[in-house]
Amino acid sequence: MARKPTPAEQAEANQLIEIKRILETVLLASVGPMTLTEIKRVFEMELSNDFLRRGLEALRDDWQGRGVELVQLAEGWRFQTRPEYQRYLDRLNPEKPPRYSRATLETLAVIAYRQPVTRGDVEEIRGVAVSTQIVKTLEERGWIEVVGHKEVPGRPALFSTTKQFLSDLGLRTVAELPPLPELAKDIQLGIPLEALPPVE
């Protein structure tokens, strides 16, 4: 920096340092992710969203290269450990959360990528019935929820994924999910593919 900061710039820089310190403390102590609105409530004075976001981004930069990172999720901002450090945590607490069955994961994938969908839609794609237990498991985890009903006979429930699902995967929006793999161009049916009409 060649130019000396003006007193006003110096004051703002000092204020940013103090605000970062408060942000860090509150976010480290918070149990869940914090929205901007919640974070705002922490401060005595009224802070602009812009200033607050700058503070959060500066804080995120400060934590670069450590075992814990500040991330922005669907539900807000949260400090979380980096996956690279999980092995240390695992040694401490060897009990792993149970892995989901393929049936549960496939059901979740259909709901995540095709939402909102009915259970019937999921069954149509997977070619098998979806057990009530699977739906219950995902609902209890807080990953899927009923967002409405389809106006067809029986008015089946429409499921979507929740914000918590995204946060639990470290994501902000559904668009950040791994991209859906491209549909394979063909399938070996033992018959020359050219005979088949284009598949949409």
Partner: protein
């Protein structure tokens, strides 16, 4: 395509694993939709349904689904359904039914392929009977891979943890807050209960009187006896002097303070009423 082959490898791995779990029950991989009865359970657990199994067969074995002996397969499936009905395995029965539907679909496709094609097809009319099956297989495969990718995304509690810093609380006891409005409300409540009594308007002036009564009592409490004039401070101003005087009168009237003058023109004293001096006060 490598992803798809990986999926097939994973399925194979799964079957081997399951077969091991089941002991020496069954170690051969299926080569068509025909499931040996003793492998039924393994197949049902290894595959997510007939689409999954069919997909695996096609990807793994380059199977021509139309080469499957449909008649034998159907017969076999019907036998499973019978067995499962006998075992009261509702869940499995349902799953077996899905395989049956798949077999039926394949039979339908095969039969339609065998029929001679009409010379001229109406637009949008007849199309390859396999197209729908292919579409479903591809869509299922897409979701199957998507599910695996989704599982690969780092997950809270499994691959990373939220931080949990202890919030220290100061050991100060939180005291109830009271505002002057609360006191007013409390008074109103009392009045409501005592509404049969005659009401009277009380202003700030009277509150001042009562406050000065407390002050004078406190003063006399510590000194026992004071010159009448010592109770007044001209610096307080005229209205304060009046209020002090009123407070003194009220104290006397309530028999809390005595005003004494031993002889005419002697200094006047104020003192706390003493029980020994005034036994008749009772």
């Amino acid at each position: 395509m490598s992803e798809i082959l990986e999926t097939a490898d994973a399925a194979e791995e799964e079957i081997r694993h399951l077969a091991k779990v089941q002991g020496e029950l069954w170690t051969d991989l299926p080569t068509d939709l025909y499931i040996p009865p003793d492998a039924l359970e393994v197949i049902l657990e290894a595959f997510e349904g007939p689409l999954d199994l069919l997909l695996w067969l096609i990807r793994r074995n380059n199977l021509n689904v139309l080469d499957i002996n449909m008649a034998a397969l159907t017969k076999q499936y019907m036998a499973y359904v019978d067995v499962m009905r006998g075992l009261q395995q509702g869940q499995r029965l349902e799953l077996a039914a899905e395989y049956l539907v798949m077999a039926a679909m394949l039979i339908e496709i095969k039969s339609r392929m065998l029929l001679p094609r009409p010379e001229k097809v109406e637009e949008g009319g007849e199309h390859d009977p396999r197209a729908e099956l292919v579409r479903r297989l591809l869509e299922y495969e897409q979701m199957k891979i998507a599910a695996r990718n989704l599982d690969g995304v780092p997950q809270l509690g499994r691959d990373f943890q939220a931080v949990d810093v202890y919030v220290s609380q100061l050991a100060i006891k939180r005291l109830p807050l009271v505002g002057s409005e609360d006191l007013l409300d409390a008074w109103r409540a009392i009045l409501k209960r005592a509404s049969m009594h005659k009401h009277h308007r009380i202003g700030r002036q009277e509150l001042s009187v009562r406050e000065h009564m407390s002050r004078i009592l406190k003063q006399l409490q510590s000194s026992g006896r004071l010159l009448f004039t010592e109770l007044f401070d001209p610096a307080d101003g005229r209205s304060a002097l009046v209020v002090t005087f009123l407070a003194l009168l009220e104290l006397v009237r309530e028999r809390l303070v005595d005003i004494v003058q031993n002889e005419p023109f002697a200094p006047i004293h104020a003192q706390v009423v003493a029980p020994i001096d005034h036994p008749e006060a009772i």
